[in-house]
């Protein structure tokens, strides 16, 4: 097993995904297969191949420190589930028992 059911339950909790026991039972073996497949890449990568996070060998992609117009506030808030006083309104952050 490359990844356990408990680890997936933990990741789901961190990702705020409410997975049922049935879903965990289904997903755990599937993810294990996927991770196993990805792991095979590591087998063919010899020591002379550095790990990479990019397909494109670019470095130092910069922009100059110049301001550009921002969104009008109505546009910025247009997709917000709730708005109050020009701000994004979000549910209570801490649970009551904390």
């Amino acid at each position: 097993m490359a990844i356990t059911r408990d680890e997936i339950a933990h990741l789901a909790r961190l990702s705020r995904l409410a997975l049922s026991d049935e879903e965990l039972d289904t997903l755990a073996p599937q993810l294990d297969v996927i991770i196993g497949a990805v792991a095979r890449v590591a087998e063919v990568a010899a020591g002379d191949i550095p790990p990479t996070t990019h397909a494109v060998p670019l470095t130092n992609v910069f922009r100059a420190d110049i301001t550009r117009p921002s969104l009008p506030r109505t546009d910025a808030l247009a997709g917000a589930p709730a708005v109050e006083d020009g701000r994004f309104r979000v549910p209570r952050i801490l649970d009551m028992d904390e």
């Binding site: 990019h54 110049i66 301001t67 969104l71 109050e84 701000r87 979000v90």
Partner: protein, 505 residues
């Protein structure tokens, strides 16, 4: 202070605590860089704009947007790293720090993880004439978060709030995190370190470092370990607490001090110190436990796929190094050597915002002590009265140098110099123009002065006789009378001398 009977038995004093336990302190400082635009997009970074008016698809984390690194932010970060004697990584990446908290709309913050931009430096800090070297573990780049306003609870606290309102203007402003080694051993050194770091960033002009606006804020990691006898190996580090978001130098010192006493109290009682985040309350000067909700260390960092690595060349780093100006410690050494200023003098002038002005006034020809005295006292007060910084006054170093020159030449008294300052501030021109315009030049040796002296002697025969009789100190009222007759435009010393001459003394 008389603690109640119950606490007296269990709470050690600070001195008692540090006599038995050695505090081990590490500091994490966040500095918002003073770039014009944000770290990864072109939104303005100006403080105080209406909520959510400096946001765009990138800093709101909208689908399809891509971050692009602000070159000035990288340059500023390298400057800070070099000024802290760090090595600059020839290759490093940004990382995603994943967490669910509404201060970032993306559910992650772009930061750096195992590949910081700069590492392994140090900063020397002076407290009471003793130098403490504080090791710098790393300097890394990240983006600032939005600001939350908690509604429905007591005084804006997150506890008990019904909901929160978020402003993302600050989200995405370039932020540098500077992490020290656990080298600090006292609240005073902790404070002095943050102070020195602030001065350093100010000298580099990479940030406005205004703690009250949050552009520099500090987290303090504090733990205690038993002191061991000299020659014996030190005890292992104890469990630490991390007190977050200290936003004044005073708070840094107070929070560390409080944590030392709090942890010593627990250890004395045989209790463990819990590793946790704590919050400092300014009003009570105490810390309280923070949220332990998130499995806080599980941020699932991974290299940021939307950004390319940074691979800064030697040429780039050397070019940045060449732009580093004189740093605060070098400057203090130079000011002490060239002008004889003490560390206290320098702190006083710095806090009054006149240090640059004093230097420029000396450079413009003023005597060192005169330049210091006039800026630190009279002019700093004028600025405070006018509600401006000393640099914002309508009188500059050249004017002040000229005034001190006129005083030194005996053309102005201190009192007249203040009148000249009035004139310059009122827009009447240069000091020379004010002197001419208001007719302020001292009358020192012409007939008018002699005439006034004789008139005063004639008008006050009783006092004059006393002086003639040898009571030299009785001359005071006569000097005053002559000064009054001359409308202040005479040098009191000259007047006194002349009076005594006329009275045969």
């Amino acid at each position: 202070m008389t603690p109640s009977a119950t606490t007296a038995a269990t709470t050690p004093t600070f001195d008692d605590a540090v006599a038995r336990y050695e505090p081990v302190i590490g500091l994490e400082t966040h500095v918002e860089l003073g770039t014009a635009s944000k770290m990864f997009c072109g939104c303005s970074t100006v403080f105080g704009a209406d909520p959510n008016t400096q946001v765009c698809p990138t800093c709101l984390g909208l689908p399809g947007s891509l971050p692009v690194v602000n070159e000035a932010a990288v340059r500023f970060a390298v400057m800070i790293g070099l000024a802290l004697n760090c090595s600059v990584s020839p290759w490093c990446r940004f990382a995603r720090k994943n967490y669910f908290y509404p201060d970032m709309p993306k559910n992650f913050q772009i930061s750096q993880y195992d590949e910081p931009l700069c590492e392994n430096g140090w900063l020397d800090v002076e407290v009471d004439g003793k130098i403490h070297r504080v090791g710098i573990t790393r300097v890394h780049m990240e983006e600032d978060t939005g600001k939350s306003l908690h509604v429905g609870g007591a005084t804006g606290r997150i506890h008990g709030a019904t909901h929160s309102l978020v402003d993302y203007n600050r989200a995405g402003i370039p932020l540098i995190e500077i992490v020290t080694e656990p080298d600090v051993r006292s609240p005073e050194v902790a404070r002095a370190y943050v102070d020195e770091l602030r001065e350093l960033c100010r000298a580099l002009t990479v940030s406005d470092v205004r703690m009250e606006q949050g552009s520099l804020r500090c987290d303090a990691n504090v733990s205690l370990r038993p002191r061991t006898a000299p020659g014996e190996p030190a005890a292992p580090y104890g469990t630490r607490s991390e007190t977050k978001n200290l936003n004044s130098l005073r708070s840094v010192e107070r929070a560390v001090r409080h944590e030392i006493v709090r942890q010593a109290t627990r250890l004395d009682a045989g209790l463990r110190v819990v590793q946790e985040t704590r919050h400092f309350d300014e009003a009570s000067g105490t810390t309280s436990t923070g949220r332990s909700k998130e499995e806080a260390t599980d941020y699932r960092y991974f290299p940021e796929p939307d950004l390319t690595p940074l691979a800064l060349t030697h040429e780039y780093v050397d070019a940045v190094r060449a732009t580093i100006p004189e740093l605060p410690a070098q400057r203090r050494a130079r000011l002490a050597g060239d002008y004889g200023f003490t560390p206290t003098d320098i702190v006083n002038m710095r806090n009054a915002g006149v240090l640059d002005l004093v230097e420029e006034t000396i450079a413009a020809g003023a005597a060192v002590e005169a330049a210091r005295k006039w800026w630190l006292n009279e002019l700093a007060r004028r600025a405070a009265d006018a509600g401006v910084t000393p640099t914002g006054l309508a009188i500059g170093p050249f004017d002040v140098a000229r005034i001190t020159e006129m005083i030194a030449d005996g053309d102005l008294t201190d009192a007249l110099a203040r009148t000249v300052i009035d004139g310059v501030l009122a827009g009447e021109g240069t000091p020379d123009e004010v002197v001419a315009g208001r007719g302020l030049k001292l009358v020192s040796d012409d007939g008018a002065l002699t005439e006034a002296v004789d008139a005063v002697i004639a008008a006050q025969p009783a006092i004059a006789d006393k002086v003639r009789g040898g009571k030299v100190n009785a001359v005071g009222p006569l000097v005053g009378a002559v000064m009054k007759a001359m409308k202040g435009q005479a040098d009191p010393g000259t007047v006194r001398k002349l009076l005594l001459e006329r009275l045969g003394q």
